[in-house]
């Protein structure tokens, strides 16, 4: 704001501007409520040459920044720190960095190079990340880095809201570092940046908990489809043709890939058949679904130590991929979010391999788990191409019949936050409709079977058929953008069928060529960015 020669803070400026334009407070509020303003007259802006010099002066008068600048930001989950006491939110991976339980210094690839940090196999595959020291005046903080492609070369970003004391409870205590001291008051605004910081390599490493370590989808177009608007306009049928190609190759006679592309023959699925559709175009990676799923299904919180070991339990996760140039990974063209949960495959590879029949297919198309029957061979998880099955590595929820096995004096340690589930008050957060799983048991998304059951029973009690949209999964309910659609795919009139039918050019199933027949479909992401990628056109390779 200073650059424009205006000393008001942005909020005030914004309000004043719009109130002036719309005529009064109430009109402004109405516009906010509607989310749009009807342009009454196309009054083009006029160029005011005189103002330019004042802007230039203002820019020049802004204190000269050093080489490196520190930006403080808020994470979606933790916010300014208000969410820090909530284990669900602490465990929620950040939308972009996929890190949780703590803050770290986000730096650019160029900065990493400058600091002599090699982005090699060690960096990617080990949670130990180099620690840097950021200093500004008297304030300094040492935090492990995470390199984010596409960042401004000399900007360092650190999330606020961490580094809380013991008094706030065992969840937030000692997690991350407090970087509020770097914020400064300028006038009556808080400046969330420190424009002149020195960055030095602290010559040590610290572990950073991440739930995803690889950034690119490696051109695996069978996994997900995304492209630019320009390209899509040119080749609107590419996704459709790719799917058609499967039919042409493997279902020459009948054109039915499901029935002909198999040696098995199909099982009858009379009645209901649940399906889900996710519109990747609408998904903005806000993570609401992840928390909703966590809360609804009693998914255990495992704490930092376990996340570091890649033991996180999320049934639903949001895969984040950077789209960037293969030769220049720093050149980020976009980010894709792909919510990923059990795909409830009709030909599920996981079901085949369970020795004790703990996971089978229901007649409603749900891949179901019988926790009581599970003996924990983990074979199903190995054979799941989507890697959505989660194993209870330890007694996270205190559900075991063994009283003292959380008291680990010799063997591996769990973070204190996990033990909250041992106290009766904390256990009140548990959803009574959902079983709490004991250790050694595999679990995964059930399409919120307790909700579908509930809806079915309700309909049965009232002696009527189930209405479309009556059963909603937790993630669907939480999604602010309505990216998730869920319903009975045998019902021709259902929303989900309509969505699938109306979007043939974007509809795809992840890894459809494997013929595992997922019940979750996706709509391709069309990025509204310029440029038509060359080559095969689906992406500009990953970084």
């Amino acid at each position: 704001m200073k650059w424009s020669g205006n000393n008001k803070n942005y909020d005030t400026y914004f309000k004043e501007y719009w109130q002036g334009k719309l005529g009064g407070e109430s009109a402004y509020s109405k516009a906010l409520q509607n989310g749009f303003v009807e342009a009454s007259a196309g009054g083009g802006g006029s160029y005011n040459g005189g103002a330019l010099s004042s802007v230039a002066t203002a820019i020049a008068s802004y204190p000269a920044g050093g080489k490196d600048e520190l930006v403080l930001y808020q994470k979606i989950a933790i916010g300014s720190g208000s969410g820090a006491t909530n284990p669900w939110l602490q465990e929620l991976p950040d939308t972009v960095t996929k890190s949780n339980w703590g803050n770290c210094a986000l730096i650019s690839m160029k900065k990493a190079e400058e600091l002599g940090i090699k982005l090699d196999v060690d960096y990617e595959y080990h949670p130990d990340k180099p620690v840097i020291k950021v200093q500004s005046g008297n304030n300094s903080v040492e935090l492990p880095i995470l390199v984010v492609p596409g960042m401004n070369a000399n900007t360092i970003a650190i999330a606020v809201g961490y580094g809380r004391g013991d008094k706030l409870g065992r969840t937030a205590a000692g997690i991350g570092k407090n970087v509020f001291p770097f914020a400064s008051l300028s006038g009556n605004t808080i400046s969330y940046e420190a424009i002149n910081v020195t960055v030095t390599d602290a010559k040590r490493k610290e572990k950073v908990a991440q739930t995803q370590i690889h950034n690119s989808y490696e051109d695996r177009i069978e996994v997900l489809r995304e492209t630019t608007l320009a390209y899509f306009k040119k080749n609107p049928n590419e996704v459709k043709e790719w799917r058609q190609h499967l039919v042409d190759t493997y279902a020459k006679k009948t054109g039915d890939f499901r029935k002909e592309g198999t040696l098995y023959g199909a099982h009858d699925q009379p009645g209901l058949k649940w399906g889900m559709n996710i519109d990747m175009n609408v998904c903005n990676g806000c993570n609401a679904c992840v928390v909703a799923c966590h809360a609804e299904n009693n998914v255990p919180v495992v704490g930092k130590a376990e996340v570091l070991r890649y033991h996180d339990m999320h049934w639903l996760r949001i895969d984040r991929y950077f789209i960037s140039d293969e030769k220049n990974p720093d050149d980020v063209k976009g980010v894709v979010f792909m919510p990923m949960m059990c795909q409830h495959c009709d030909n599920a590879p996981c079901e085949n391999v369970c020795p004790v029949a703990a996971t089978t297919h229901s007649e409603e198309g749900i891949n179901q788990m019988a926790y009581n029957r599970c003996i924990g061979t983990r074979y199903c998880a190995n054979n799941c191409p989507y890697k959505v099955r989660r194993f209870n590595w330890a007694d996270y929820t205190g559900a075991d019949t063994f009283p003292n096995n959380q008291n680990q004096t010799v063997v591996g340690k769990l973070d204190p936050v996990v033990f909250q589930m041992n106290d009766p008050v904390s256990r009140m957060v548990l959803n009574p409709d959902v079983t709490v799983r004991s250790r050694g048991v595999m679990e995964k998304c059930s399409f919120c079977i307790q909700r579908t059951q509930h809806a079915k029973l309700q309909a049965k009690k009232e002696n009527r058929v189930l209405h479309d949209g009556e059963a909603k999964t937790a993630c669907q309910q939480a999604c602010p953008t309505n990216a998730i659609m869920f319903g009975n795919v045998h019902d021709k009139e259902s929303q989900i069928n309509k969505v699938r039918f109306d979007n043939p050019q974007r509809l795809f199933y992840s890894l459809e060529q494997l013929h595992v027949l997922p019940n979750v479909s996706y709509l391709a992401k069309i990025r509204n960015t310029e440029g038509v990628p060359g080559g095969t056109g689906h992406s500009e390779h990953g970084g």
């Binding site: 190759t249 040696l263 085949n352």
Partner: protein
Amino acid sequence: MSTVEKFIPSKKYNTTAFILMAVGLLAAIVLYITTHGAAATPEEQQAKSAVFWAALLQNSVFFLMICNATMFFMCATALAWGGWQIAFTRVTEAVSSMVPIIGVIAVVILLSIVYGGNHVIYHWTDAAHVEHDSVLNFKKGFLNPTFFTVVTILTVLLWSLLGWQMRKLSRSTDETSWKNPKQKYNFQFKNTVTAGLFMIVFALTVMSSIPWLWLMSIDAHWFSTMYSWYTFASTFVSGVAVITLFVIYLKNKGLLGIVNEEHLHDLGKFIFAFSIFWTYLWFSQFMLIWYANIPEETVYFQSRTKGLYSIVFWTMFVINFIVPLLIFMSRDSKRNYTIVTYVALLVIFGHWLDFYQMVFPAVSPDKAPNLLLILGVALFFVGLIIYFVGRTLSKYSLIASNHPFVKESVIHHT
């Protein structure tokens, strides 16, 4: 009896061979005529004539690989320092001497297919098609005419050369007089080294590249790591069956005095054991693909287990597995010349059918070609083998009477 016995092919023997060859040629001509008639479109014409070429391909490759499997039998037993098989080693050698003869025929046929301009059998020879087919385009470093030609010719050449060397070594014993066991050991050593060399060549050809190039590339998109080992098992059983048939024939003529039912029993055991081995490989390949159910792999069995070719597919399975299993399980049947003869014949036919179902579902997916005509073509090769094996047998002593291990073979006892 004299151990320097020789087989002199009778007139009847040779006539039979020539008649079979003639029938085979006739069948080929008939097949040519029926597949080269007028057709509505050039594509249809190509598809029709491909059946003719595929028949030649199937038969020449099948019989070439059988004869080469007898080479394998010879070399493997040599490597293992086996003694029992020496009694009839000249028969094995005679069958293996067919490799260069059928080899030349097979090379001519294969190269005619690759360069003949008909791309129905080998899609990957069609440069224009490969351009548009991303999978074939990806593979063209392997599936291209030049590589195919070089490997094919080199392979047949190496097989012939090493076989010639093995046979020469064996025949050299006829003139040698051993002075001490050390000399015998040295001979065995030389024999082992040659056999070892062949094994290396064998591993790089039959156990890997050759079946991929000659047969698997007919279903050019499809792939299976087991394929080459599987085809090897198929031809090896047939190869042992061919040796058995010649041994029985010579026994019937009152020759091969030192061969008795103990040897027959062991040949029977080989057919039994390797039929089960073949089944094992068949099952492993089939079940694994069936189980994972990934279309890019199941597509191969789609065309074989369902529809037109399913009868052939299951018939050959029954012949190649159930027949030897049930009949050869008992000791007595393996020692009965008549039963062994019939089982050997059936087994060869069964594996011929196996090759038939490897080739034709991809070449002619919508119309199963006339099995009898294609079987007719096989008779040409049968005649050829009968004639030339007879000729080779007549040139040398039937018993390697001076071989270091021949006495072990005499007292062989199961």
